[in-house]
Symmetry: C2
Subunit: 410 residues, 2 copies
């Protein structure tokens, strides 16, 4: 018989765009014993988590809860609920995760109109507004922070045009929520999807979402109750006036019933992940949203100063750089994967490569959540310098870390 050994992880400094390091307070809650899903103690945690998510998303929406799956489960839940087959969907694409929105929208039966921008840049909001007026989509889906290219899409004014034209506005804020300001209500966004394993620093496995009455109205018209849950004599015929949602697991209407006081059984809520999310949100709210955004900007500044002082070049248009991801061009002739491997194997530090056309061309360094700290920035700069020297790069040793220390005012 094969023996599977006891195991614990090697120490790591995780400077990727997720998953990132988790605060020990969050890890601690994951070791707490289970409560039953309908135990009043647990349902009150669920309610508290909803209240905290409203603060995180800067919204008065009634509905804010996690979908039990990784971030893209939240994206798919929102899109499969809000896109009826045949609906026209506008997706402005400026990186990999824009393609993902397209791909999911198509699988939901949406007729996708894609706007494409060269990777490394973003759209001017007016370009998107014009396209909405031109194409008159039922739904506009776009990425707030595109980790594949490290760009941040400005959203100002887009919500107004969606209201004018009757479109729903869906924003994928997986990589930004808790790290970059995103005011859901102020921006008139109808549905937002956040991620746990990035700026919230909670392990992957849940996807917090929020949506407003405009979005809910569409969901209600597609509603269906499971037959096995109905009392004797009650018909299972759906009151829906639109086609039911093509997923059961990701049916937000049913999830909403489960998160509502009715507590209509759907899945079994992922207990330990909910403990983790609640504690992660407590940490965010204790720090304060604005203070947290400011912390992310401070460490980004130090990282960028260090990278540039080493003589490396940042990738992409600096005017739309994401504060929580820094993309660095891999110097010509250098094997970027070999540098990454040395960082991981010798220093226990992880940075990321990228996808598709950027694979092998840039490194991506995240400064997200608990990983976004002075210690991590300084250790990463020092280790990167050493790995570059070891790979034969010519650079003036010492400058990267010194530049970061300057930014920190040490």
């Amino acid at each position: 018989m094969k023996v599977y050994k006891d195991w614990s992880p090697s120490p790591r400094t995780i400077m990727t765009p997720g998953p990132v390091e988790v605060d020990p307070r969050v890890l601690r809650t994951m070791s707490y014993p289970i409560l039953g899903q309908f135990d009043p103690e647990f349902t009150s945690l669920m309610n508290e988590t909803m209240a905290m998510l409203r603060e995180l998303f800067m919204t008065e929406n009634e509905w804010a809860f996690p979908v039990d799956g990784t971030s893209r489960s939240g994206i798919e839940a929102v899109l499969v609920g809000l896109i009826e087959p045949g609906d026209k969907v506008l997706v402005p694409i400026y990186g990999r995760f824009g393609y993902l929105l397209t791909e999911i929208a198509q699988r939901c039966g949406g007729e996708v109109v894609a706007l494409e921008k060269e990777w490394g840049a973003v759209f001017r909001p007016a370009e998107i507004a014009d396209a909405i007026r031109l194409h008159r989509p039922s739904l506009v889906a776009l990425v707030h922070g595109e980790t594949s290219t490290g760009r941040l899409q400005p959203l100002e004014g887009i919500g107004h045009v969606c209201r004018e034209t009757g479109a729903l506005l869906v924003v994928d804020a997986v990589a930004t929520v808790g790290g970059v300001r995103l005011a859901t209500d102020e921006l008139l966004i109808d549905a937002v999807i956040g991620g746990t394993q990035k700026c919230l620093s909670v392990p992957a496995g849940m996807a917090p979402i929020t949506y407003n009455k405009r979005a809910e109205a569409k969901l209600q018209r597609r509603k269906k109750i499971e037959r096995g849950l109905l009392p004797e004599g009650v018909s299972a015929d759906a009151p829906a006036t639109l086609r039911p949602i093509q997923s059961n697991y990701l049916d937000i209407g049913q999830l909403q019933d489960y998160w509502s006081p009715a507590r209509l059984n759907h899945h079994t809520e992922a207990t330990s992940m909910l403990y983790a999310l609640r504690e992660g949100l407590r940490l965010v709210l204790e720090e304060g949203l604005e203070a947290r955004y400011e912390r992310h900007r401070r460490h980004e500044a130090a990282l960028v100063a260090g990278i540039e002082a080493m003589g490396l070049t940042l990738y992409g248009d600096p005017s739309c750089k994401m504060p929580v991801v820094t993309c660095v061009e891999i110097p010509a002739g250098l094997d970027g994967e070999s540098v990454r491997a040395m960082l991981l194997e010798q220093f226990g530090i992880e940075i990321a490569s990228s996808f598709g056309p950027l694979k092998g061309k840039i490194w991506r360094i995240g400064t997200m959540g608990y990983s976004c700290s002075k210690r991590n920035v300084l250790l990463t700069l020092g280790a990167l310098e050493a790995a570059l020297i070891r790979h034969g790069c010519e650079l003036e040793a010492g400058r990267g870390v010194q530049a970061a220390l300057d930014v920190y005012g040490v």
Copy 2:
């Protein structure tokens, strides 16, 4: 500003059909720091987990991995992958979770033929075999252990008929895997879905699945690679010959690429849940599958002896009782919910009610995984007796626990 308090759960003895208590060794691993999803240390954990799942499912299948979502995400992943819109699907239903299979199959576009059996009984395998020969479905989906009624469906011979007629056989073993014998290969099952939060005693949030070459062949014909992942110049056109799967998150073809040596990026694997699953599987394999099944039968026997000695009546056909769930008729005139509330509030013990037509008519007591222990059975019987007396039931005090002690040979 609202203050959200620090918190830890009250002690609970969880005797429901899930989620159940979790072994402290599993809880401990959930508090371990995160590893990156492509860190070789993490991918080797993923590979080990696949090997352990093969042992759990008693299969030589190449593919055995968790879907990142609760149990029904695994069911939907399997069904949405294996049902093409228009496929005929046979679902033998003998409780709520049979309806769930129907509901999911319909949302996948399947033309469902439902066989219904009165709740409390199961099908003779020959009845199902006859229906397969009559209806010639593309796929047969059925529940192994139906927790809503506490019944276990015998599966012998059904796989042979599916091979004869060219149907795929899918078994929902969410409530049985790790607690009741289910030999995937021996029974010629093409795809099985297990649950974590029941007999495996791992928190909810993952759904282990396995499938064989017959199932994989269908998935391969529906395959699609995301455009954002393709290198420059490579076309995104799918090589698929059948309609692509209507979900991205639950696309098993893409999940398989992620779990394969290619490690094609899909979601971000739920790190802490994977730690938990691996440790839960280690515990199962250390105990030994047969010893574990035997433990579940032993504690069931003690619980049943205690329940009957108290003068209570078991629900349903005893010849097909699930060993890990015991359904008890609520005595006429008694408020079952009030008894359950007293158990939880005064004794910290949770038992379950049921769904739909059985709501208010039976209690369901689980003996699953780490919750399946002598201590838990004895404490539950004692507390239930006390709660019944407090509710005015006439019974001979002391007999329930004594009968269980007799079974334990104390």
